[in-house]
């Protein structure tokens, strides 16, 4: 799911830049044509409205899985501010070693929860600017068409910012990359209160 999402995100970001260039929000910001996807605007749009299906379907499966299995709660919660500060302090001293790849540190938790929320908002704002009349109720949650478009752009910026940090750190901690590709260490799950038939029934003496 991660790599499907990565591919879909890259399609959406680079074709989105192509679409943005056709009518910029900020006069000082044009994306270099070389890093945009599609020959002309219509091809950028074709890619964008193809990628959206992959991104949305994959994202829905991911969210359903994460919520239904309790994986999100287990991996991403709780987030304690003191732990976040401690992890930032460690990171600034370049202590980036992940002793246990199966556990996220507090900063990772903050970033991963944050990026999941940004992912939800980027899809919602995308729907709001794709169908501002059919989904006019949704668009009005973002105030109007242009503000929804701005939110969509800012989410893109947040995702790109996350990507830079995410990829840089994955490269700095090479063993995490290998785990990403192989599926990572096998986690033995034990139910918290195993009840076995063979257990002797405690007898009060």
């Amino acid at each position: 799911m991660h790599w499907t999402n990565a591919a879909a995100m890259l399609i959406m970001i680079t074709s989105g830049w192509k679409i943005y260039n056709d009518e910029v929000i900020f006069g000082w910001l044009h994306f270099p044509e070389a890093i945009t996807l599609g020959k002309y605007a219509q091809h950028g749009l074709q890619w964008h409205f193809f990628g959206m299906w992959i991104l949305a379907i994959n994202g829905l499966v991911y969210l359903t899985y994460g919520l239904a299995t309790g994986r999100f709660r287990e991996k991403l919660l709780p987030i304690r501010p003191s732990e976040v500060i401690a992890t930032v302090r460690d990171a600034l001293r370049l202590r980036l070693d992940h002793d246990d790849l199966t556990h996220y540190n507090a900063v990772q938790k903050v970033l991963y929860v944050g990026i999941i929320l940004v992912g939800v908002v980027v899809v919602l704002s995308g729907l709001a600017i794709w169908k501002p009349i059919q989904f006019s109720e949704l668009t009005s949650l973002f105030y109007d068409f242009q503000t929804a478009r701005l939110v969509h752009f800012l989410c893109m910026a947040a995702i790109v910012g996350f990507l830079v940090v995410h990829v840089a750190l994955a490269i700095l901690v090479p063993k995490s990359l290998l785990a990403m590709l192989t599926g990572g260490p096998v986690v033995k799950r034990e139910s918290p209160d195993p009840v076995r038939a063979s257990d002797p029934i405690p007898v009060n003496e």
Binding site: I19, Y20, D22, E23, I25, K39, Y40, A41, Q42, H43, L45, Q46, W47, F49, F50, W130, K131, P132, I133, Q134, S136, S140, F145, Q146, R149
Partner: protein, 263 residues
Amino acid sequence: MSIRPPSPSIFRPRKPIDQTVMKENRLLVDEINRRNVLRGALSLGALTMLTGCEPYENQALQTFMRAVSSWNDRAQSLIFRPNHLAPTFSESQVVKPPRFNAYYDVEDVKPVDSAGWKLELAGLIQDKRPWTVQQIAGLPEQELIIRHICVEGWDYIGQWSGVNLRHFLERVGADLTAKYVAFKCADDYTESIDMATALHPQTILATKYAREPISDPFGFPLRLRTATKLGFKNAKWIMAIEVTNEFPDTFWHKQGFNWFAGI
């Protein structure tokens, strides 16, 4: 064409020219006519100017992307809400003049002469008599203050008035169960919309902007204004309307833009 008698010129060959090659290829030669050659040359030249034509994009990829785009047409017609109204705005929010858009610049607009203009009707319509500007002005008028959204990403609020398209189609006895309503424009632009959109309460044939006759760059004397489509679907300088079940391909769709283009 008649063959002239041989002239006495010494440059003329003694024996007539061997005609067998010509006979063998008569069919091919018959197909070559000046008009087609000119047309071919023009379109070949135009290919270099048009954006997004086949030579630039991988053919197989384009075929796939067009298939996805048709799939997206169907998805959009499924989420289309026939009676859901687009938000409307107050007169004080109206932008004057509206923003220009076409496949060429505003200074290249060729104004339509309203005296000689007639709206032609074609296809699945009972009463195909053409309409003059005066006749259209006599139809009941509906006003829309709605947001125009361009595929590029810009928008503005405009105030349009004219006859409701559903009302007009009923009036001329159009087959409302047909699939498409197509528009041919004075600048050779072509556009078509699905019948559900044509029958939407906020789809009109506009003749006025901000209570004044639409000015030349914005489609005088008649243009489409629908609240539920992107800007480019709103055909300007309409010359003919056709109701049909056969997909009428359109200017921008041929170049790779999505056909349904709903908002």
